[in-house]
Amino acid sequence: MDLTRLSAAELSERLIAGTVTSVEVTQAHLDRMSAVEPAVHAFLYTNAEEALAVAADVDTRRAAGEELHPLAGVPIAVKDVVVTRGMPTTAGSKILEGWVPPYDATIVERIRAARMPILGKTNMDEFAMGSSTEHSAYGNTHNPWDLTRIPGGSGGGSAAAVAAYEAPLAIGTDTGGSIRQPGAVTGTVGVKPTYGGVSRYGLIAMASSLDQAGPVTRTVLDAALLHEVIGGHDARDSTSIDEPLPGLVEAARKGAARDLTGLRIGVVKELSGEGYQAGVEARFHESLEMLTAMGATVVEVSCPNFDYALGAYYLIMPSEASSNLAKFDGMRFGLRVEPDEGPVTAERVMAATRGQGFGDEVKRRIILGTYALSAGYYDAYYGSAQKVRTLIQRDFDAAFEQVDVLVSPTAPTTAFPLGAKLDDPLAMYLNDIATIPANLAGVPGISVPNGLSDDGLPVGFQVLAPAKADDRLYLVGAALESACEAAWGAPLLAQAPELEVNR
């Protein structure tokens, strides 16, 4: 039996039953990483020694009869934008090369408290800015479905690691779609929780009002299990919601029974049509039929202000990023570059460090944000964008009065070839057209694989729910997943080509 093919839920059962050890599970994944990393490059750092030590400790405790968290001993990969004590954390940027954080993010503390071995840190677009992971300062990640194609972004590393069976679980972060879009293009599950539902303490911020960490997995149930580990109130994050999470695992299990009687589903009119691949739309409509067959009512709803979401997003996100990224200046941590000539003043060191340490996309967004916040432009740009944001929130409010969840394709296209959009930022930005509204409104979203497009590449189905109703994502997501797998006879990933491995 190949342990890397099992879901986290299945591994958990076997670990609890004692039929496998965590060391075996962890070692299997480390072996898989050694085998496929040269081709996939999902990881920036491998944490083998510590992961095996945690695994061995879990095995000892279990053997001694200690009651552990159900996911204890199940390994996980963590996106490199999340700070990890003792493990290098770069956020995909040269400016943080070699930085080893002296503290853990809250979600990492929770993962460690659950005794889940951390396999390593996954690749990403620099500071999570991108939709293809091509903006990583440490090289591309390749899509396991087709190594010449992008794995999505910014969390392409986490999605590819899970899709390539290098890890059963991974952590992603989603500011405009960076969990869901990679999920869609790699045939995996990605969840962006309600804003405030998962602590941001220890996430290297891109846009504070939009960022949210969440699960990257191969099954909906696994996502729910992981979400319950990392979610819930954190006093160190002022924007954290001080309420218990709804029953997510419970909702996922309920959804797997494929009964959606009474559920009202709204199809967002604005998230279809021009720019959406035919295969993407075809799979979307097939999924709607499946949901209808399970008892749900499907209606079309209009969210007219979604048309302005991308524009508002590309003002708010860079504005916040320009400020959040100011701290990377060579004074306290990370890269420090002294100017080649002339006096070595603090200001000139800052300029040289930032000039050399940041990549082009990061610089582009810092400049954009700095401009948008400037006196005389603030009202026209940042101010107007915030108004649009309010209108989008109102669109959601109105829609959720009519329906329980909203649905759309997760991304307009399947994975494009590496390099195809690298020189065309606007084309790149359009990948997130369907995912961005949820970030602007703070509502939760999930992407579930719902088939292959005409080009044989995976497609994702997005479900959006009202804030704090993340359980609905799992209900609908698990129902669709179950119906799809019943139709296919296996998970979608079973159709992915076997990777050539180093033996």
């Binding site: 999340v82 700070v83 954390t89 956020a91 943080l96 930085w99 954080p101 002296p102 503290y103 993010a105 941001r200 303490y201 220890g202 996430l203 290297i204 911020a205 846009a207 504070s208 009002s209 006093a235 160190r236 994050d237 002022s238 924007t239 504005s319 916040e320 320009s322 400020s323 100011a326 701290k327 990377f328 200046d329 004074m331 306290r332 941590f333 603090a346 200001e347 800052m350 700095t370 916040l373 400037s374 006196a375 603030y378 940042y382």
Partner: protein, 502 residues
């Protein structure tokens, strides 16, 4: 430090021709146990960079959480300054690159201060009350501290390298901003000083800060502009930064009035800029050009939620406010029955707490004032120290006055005992015993001394007998001398009259 020589106009001449307008920004460091946005403990004098967390170091991923105690202190200050307290207010980011600002933005309040629209009545030395309107009081965090090493001046120019201590970074501050202070005229320097001094007293009374100027707990930026007449529009202002003693505030205002008057007299315009105050030379020099185009790219801090103090909480804080210095002064003056000038002297001498404690220890109001504003005030002046720095306590003064009241000491003896006390010879009782200073209450030695005195000047007895009591003082003086002052003058007088048979 060499500064360009600047022509100055004599202060009185400047004030004759121009009307000064002040604006004062005071920063006070709150005395909370931890920092504004994290749990780093705050203590004066810690080893550099020992009082930091990922948050106050601005490490990637760290997030701020508002310190509730700091909000409470800010509300206390707002209420004491007669301000409105915002029902909801946000923090903002003030973006600028500087190594002592760990995030390269300061988390501050911009357009939504926690307290606004207040005033403070400031009492000047002659008792005049001057009202200063308060525009706002807002919360923010302090920056770290730079030390420039290797230069001759301690300033950044010429330094080889700079060290940064982030212990101070993130300490909660409240910044209090006045509206333009008009109508002070020639008394502008005094108003500025009295305003900051009154604020300092309020911070202490509210127990929100140790408010020690010399530690930089309270820092003042003084804006000043001149205009030809009070009816003219406001002139261009300068902002003199970090003037950190009461005396310096007064001097800096005087200097800027004289300097700006010279600029205007020459037909030139005052440059809008920040200026540095030089304690040693008593002048200001230009700092950074400050224009309205300064762009801090303020925007609401997305990592924090609005601070929304409930009205119930605000009222609870209001109800718990201690008596403020000005109210306390009024109450004590009534209780003690001091005349206005007496009370003002007490206040100006910083003797109010000392007198209150002396009275509490059993001395009359008049007795307490007599000591602290008399002998002790003279002694403090001679020694060039504050009254409270004298090596003597209110309880000791009360004991001393007790001995006077009991007849053990007369005033003259009591002053000798006081000398002993200041010299550290012990308690009043111990000094009386050790120096043998008690009043001679046995008539025997007194009569002997009287007889001796009368014998030396036989005509005196005759004069007294005939009703001319004038010379009696001479006899008393002689007796006092003979007894080294340890006689009760009243008793000696009685005995003299008895002796001569008057």
């Amino acid at each position: 430090m060499s500064a360009p020589t600047v022509d100055l106009v004599a202060y009185d001449d400047a004030i004759d021709r121009y009307d000064p307008v002040l604006g004062i920004e005071v920063h006070v460091e709150l005395g909370t146990r931890t920092k504004m946005f994290c749990g780093a403990e705050v203590e004066f004098g810690g080893a550099p960079n020992s009082q930091v967390t990922p948050v106050s170091l601005g490490l990637p991923g760290a997030l701020p959480v508002v310190n509730r105690a700091a909000v409470e202190y800010a509300i206390r200050i707002g209420l004491a300054l007669n301000c409105q307290i915002a029902e909801s207010c946000r923090f903002a980011r003030k973006n600028y690159f500087y190594p002592d600002v760990p995030k390269n933005f300061q988390t501050s309040q911009y357009d939504e201060p926690i307290a606004f629209d207040g005033y403070l009545d400031v009492e000047l030395e002659d008792g005049t009350v001057f009202r200063v309107d308060i525009e706002r009081a807002h919360m923010e965090e302090d920056a770290g501290k730079n030390t420039h090493v290797g230069g001759s001046t301690g300033r950044i120019h010429g330094a080889e390298y700079s060290l940064i201590d982030y212990n101070r970074a993130g300490i909660p501050l409240v910044e209090i901003v006045t509206r333009p202070i008009e109508g002070a005229g020639a008394r502008a320097p005094e108003v500025a000083r009295a305003y900051v001094q009154t604020l300092r007293d309020i911070f202490r009374a509210l127990d929100v800060s140790e408010a020690r100027m010399e530690r930089g707990n309270v820092r003042a930026d003084v804006n000043l502009s001149l205009r030809p007449t009070p009816e003219s529009p406001l002139g261009t202002r300068t902002e003199t930064k970090n003037v950190n003693s009461f005396r310096s505030i007064e001097r800096a205002v005087r200097y800027e009035v004289s300097r700006q008057a010279a600029v205007l007299d020459a037909g030139a315009t005052v440059t809008q800029e920040t200026r540095h105050w030089h304690e040693d030379t008593g002048i200001t020099t230009p700092g950074r050009i400050k224009s309205d185009a300064d762009d801090y790219r303020y925007f609401p801090e997305p990592d924090l939620v609005p601070v929304a103090p409930s009205r119930a909480w605000v009222e609870e804080i209001r109800a718990g406010l201690p008596e403020l210095p000005v109210e306390r002064r009024r109450r004590l003056q009534t209780e003690w029955g001091y005349a206005d000038p007496e009370m003002r002297d007490v206040v100006n001498a910083g003797a109010i707490d000392l007198i209150e404690a002396t009275i509490a220890a059993g001395t009359s109001a008049a007795g307490a004032r007599k000591w602290w504003m008399g002998e002790l005030a003279r002694r403090a002046k001679t020694d060039e120290v504050e009254l409270e720095q004298l090596p003597i306590t209110p309880a000791q003064i009360a004991e001393l006055q007790g001995l006077v009241d009991a007849g053990t000491l007369n005033d003259k003896l009591a002053r000798q005992v006081l000398e002993g006390m200041l010299a550290g010879e012990g308690s009043p009782q111990e000094i009386v015993a050790a120096r043998g200073l008690g009043i001679v209450s046995d008539d025997g030695p007194l009569l002997a001394a009287i007889d001796e005195a009368l014998a030396k000047q036989p005509d005196i007895a005759e004069k007294i007998r005939s009703g001319n009591l004038g010379p009696i003082g001479a006899v008393i003086g002689a007796v006092m001398k003979a007894t080294r002052g340890q006689a009760d003058a009243g008793r000696v007088r009685e005995l003299v009259l008895e002796r001569v048979g008057a």
